[in-house]
C-alpha cells in the first residue's frame, strides 16, 4: 500500500479521515507509522496528497489531510480480457488498475469455463476491491471503468467496433506475424484471450470488428505477464 486510499465515508470532516480494519492494520504493521508521521493519501476518484497521523491505536487511526495533487493521467487504453480462472482474476484486475488502464472489459470466450462467471471473485465488490489494491500499489485514485461482457458476439459486433473506431484495435494472437505500433497515442483497445487462446471463429469476429492481429512471439505468457508486457510495449 503505497497510497492510503480514502472513500468518502472515511471522512469525518472535509480534512479529517478516520480509518479502521485493513488500512489501520497495514499502517501499524507494515508502515510501522507513529503519531505525527505523514502518509501518502488519496481520495477515491479525487486528489492525492499527505495525511498527518493525529491518532493511532488499536481501534482506529485519524488523519488530517492536505490533498493538492491530481492523480496520474490514465492511459488511453481499454483492455478486453477473456475472464481468467478465478485464481488469476484478482492479480489481473489489480495489475491492470496498477498499470493505469482506463477501462477493463471482462468478456466471455469459448475457452472460458462457465463456472468462472459464477465465481465469488466475479462479484462487483471483489473486482472493485482488487482495483483498489492496484490503485494503492500504483499511487492512483481513479478506478478503471470495469464492464462485464457476458455475451461475446453482441459485444464484439455492436460495442467493440465503436471502441476501435476511436483509435486502434489490437488482439493478442500468436503467429500472426504482426508487430506492434510503437507508441500509445490515440486510444487503443487491446484484447487478450483466455488460457488456450481464442478459437478461430472468435479471431475472425474480432478481426471483423476492426481489431488487428498481433504476434507476441513463440512464448506463452501468463495473463498478468502478457498484459504488463503489452502495456509496457504500448505505453512506456
Amino acid at each position: 500500500m503505497n497510497l492510503v486510499l480514502l472513500c468518502p465515508e472515511d471522512l469525518v470532516a472535509p480534512d479529517r479521515a478516520l480509518l479502521t480494519g485493513r488500512r489501520l492494520a497495514h499502517v501499524r504493521e507494515v508502515h510501522r507509522a507513529t503519531v505525527g508521521d505523514d502518509l501518502a493519501v488519496g481520495l477515491l476518484g479525487g486528489k492525492m496528497g499527505r495525511g498527518r497521523l493525529l491518532r493511532l491505536d488499536d481501534e482506529a487511526l485519524e488523519l488530517t489531510l492536505s490533498l493538492d495533487q491530481a492523480p496520474p493521467p490514465k492511459l488511453p487504453l481499454t483492455l478486453v480480457i477473456a475472464v481468467p480462472r478465478p485464481k488469476v482474476l484478482n492479480r489481473v484486475v489489480a495489475a491492470s488498475a496498477s498499470l493505469g488502464v482506463a477501462r477493463i472489459i471482462l468478456v466471455n470466450a469459448w475457452k472460458v469455463e462457465k463456472a468462472y462467471w459464477s465465481s465469488p471473485r466475479m462479484a462487483p465488490e471483489n473486482l472493485r476491491q482488487q482495483m483498489i489494491l492496484g490503485l494503492e500499489q500504483a499511487k492512483d485514485t481513479v478506478l478503471p471503468e470495469l464492464r462485464l461482457a457476458r455475451l461475446f458476439r453482441p459485444f464484439v459486433e455492436d460495442e467493440l467496433p465503436v471502441l476501435v473506431a476511436q483509435g486502434t484495435g489490437l488482439v493478442a494472437h500468436p503467429a500472426s506475424g504482426e508487430s506492434l505500433p510503437r507508441i500509445l497515442v490515440a486510444p487503443v483497445t487491446l484484447a487478450i484471450g483466455p488460457e488456450g487462446g481464442w478459437i478461430e471463429a472468435e479471431i475472425q469476429s474480432l478481426l471483423r470488428a476492426g481489431m488487428r492481429p498481433l504476434d507476441l512471439g513463440p512464448r506463452i505468457l501468463r495473463t498478468e505477464t502478457a498484459l504488463a508486457a503489452l502495456v509496457g510495449r504500448l505505453a512506456f
Copy 2:
C-alpha cells in the same frame, strides 16, 4: 505446464522418458491425458517436440519422444534485479524465465533486507525450480543464466560496465524523464530496483557504470509487473 520439461535423468532410453511426482500428477489431473495422447515435451537445454503416452498409472507415466524443434531464441537481455522479498521472488524469477530473458542477476541494494539473502527461496535448487516453472509455462527449454551478486559495489564497478559495453544499459528510476529506445536489437542490461527504489548513491554508481536512467512514469509497479512491462516495451 504448457510443456513437459524433461531432465537427462528422466530418460530411460534416448527416445523414452519415465516420469513420476509433480509432472505425473499434472498430466493426470490437469491435462487429463490418456494413453496414446501426444504431449508437448522438451529436453532441458535441448530440443522440443512431442511425447506419446505409452503408459499412465498411479506410479509413473512413460513417453516415446520425437524431438525436432529448436527452442525459441532467448532475448538478448540481462535483468539485474535487486533481491525482492521472498514472497515475490518466485514469481519474478519464473516470469523472467517465461519472458525469455537470457540472464538474471540478483543483486544487493540498500533497501534489500539482509534476511532476504538467507531465505530458503534463495537456494539454488529453488531458483532453478522457479525458472523451470517459467520455461514450462512459456514453452522453452533453456534456463536463463542466473547469478547472485551479493556485493553491490564490486558488481556494479567491475562487472556491470562489461555487460553495458556490449550494448545498452538502462536502469528503471522514477522521474528521470527519460523514455526508452524502441527496440531490443543490441544486448540490453536492465536494472530494476528493490521495493522503495535505489538510493541516490546506488543510482550514481549505476550511472557511472554506463547505465542510462529511464522514467517509467508516476506509477509504482510491482516488480513482476514492471519487469514484464519493460520487457514488453523492449522486445515486442
